[in-house]
Symmetry: C2
Subunit: 217 residues, 2 copies
DNA sequence: TAGATTGTTAATCGATTAACAATC
DNA sequence: TAGATTGTTAATCGATTAACAATC
């Protein structure tokens, strides 16, 4: 039963991505159907939790005794995660990280389409990355309005981040994916998501520390 | 009072990074001390939650009526997040993303030191990225053992991910930062952290959807 | 049919919030 | 001193888990 509404917690999103990962693996191993118990086992999670989580995404219902069709389940989860809902975005700050993200084809699968880059550096403006133009930051507002873009990827240096974000908001951007270490202030009707790889690294380091501690005993 | 032990939840790590971000901003604005109430306000969080979170990180205690010294607080949080605890790592799979991560100086600040890259592509082996050598995957095991490296960044193509992870485990790696979309199976004493940018994008997309829905009313 | 599994409702647990004594 | 803020303990809320009726 599709549970269509309500603000869904970060924990659910994280697990949903886990499910998609593991299910793709199971499919590659030849599975055709999968039960919530089998999926929970594979990920060391509680079956009830898996069932409840899946209920947020499921359109193609499972069958008692059989479980879920693995293809349908993957599709439902990927739809839930928005893979098949293409999101046009611009990217501002075409430095090393910005170039990597513009050229990184992995994002396409997730439904992110970076249509153009913006920068102030003259040298980079003549270039194209992956067939995408790099335009001067001055043209940002007109381009965003013309193309009706609502999302931006922010990869400027720390010091410019807030000023660029302000310009993005003025241009009509409503969602900013922030890869800079700056704290970005925006009005309430503009979402900011910090891509904080430091957090992942910290979590992993903590786990490593615990593992090494156990080993040394 | 430093609460030194216990497995700390992902939610705490996420907020801790938020605190560090905002505090750096406040410092730049000239603040010298900050209270938990002020920090909570700035981030729209509950003051009790902020106080409890900070208690995990704090070495330099706050003063009643005054609050925390902002420099000391930033330092404590950055220590908690492991910024000042250098972690040597290798990177396997020197494609576009791998090159970007090897050349990305942002990681240094977080305490991650990528000492070398590994790949099977002959063409790339002659290159150096940011002064770091790229070695053939065959040398992985001996290098990891010699340098006593415990952490690896995984940026191979999807299909090679599991086989490379197996090799890493054999070599003695105990923590894998997985940037591939593959589900990686490892023994219990090897930690895996999936860097799932699809999750961030999904969360941001959900927020954008809610914002646009409100606007259209 | 008998049994495994679904989807959902009730019970439990952990994280968040509120309250408060200590203190500068 | 009076009042603001800390650090911590008790109350509340939401997320996780267990239980169970429905069903293929």
């Amino acid at each position: 039963m599709a549970n269509s509404e309500g603000s869904i917690s970060l924990a659910v999103f994280n697990r949903m991505a886990q499910y998609a990962r593991r299910l793709r693996g199971m499919k590659a191993e030849g599975c055709v159907t999968v039960s919530s118990v089998a999926l929970a086992d594979a990920l060391s999670l509680n079956p009830s939790l898996v069932k409840k989580d899946l209920s947020f995404a499921i359109v193609n219902e499972g069958k008692p005794k059989v479980g879920y069709n693995i293809d349908e389940l993957i599709e439902d989860i990927e739809n839930f995660l928005g893979y098949n809902n293409t999101k046009d975005a611009i990217l501002v700050g075409v430095g090393k990280l910005g170039q990597a993200l513009m050229g990184y084809h992995g994002f396409e699968k997730y439904g992110l389409n970076i249509v153009a880059g913006f920068d102030i550096d003259e040298k980079i403006l003549s270039r194209e990355i992956d067939g995408k133009k790099i335009l001067p930051t001055g043209k940002l507002e007109s381009a965003v309005k013309k193309l009706n873009i609502k999302m931006a990827v922010l990869t400027t240096p720390y010091k410019e981040a807030q000023a660029v974000a302000d310009a993005l908001v003025r241009a009509g951007i409503r969602a900013i994916w922030n890869f800079t270490p700056a704290h970005i202030k925006t009005p309430d009707d503009v979402a900011v998501k910090n891509e904080d790889m430091a957090v992942s690294l910290a979590v992993l380091s903590q786990q490593l520390k615990e593992i090494l501690k156990k080993e040394s005993k």
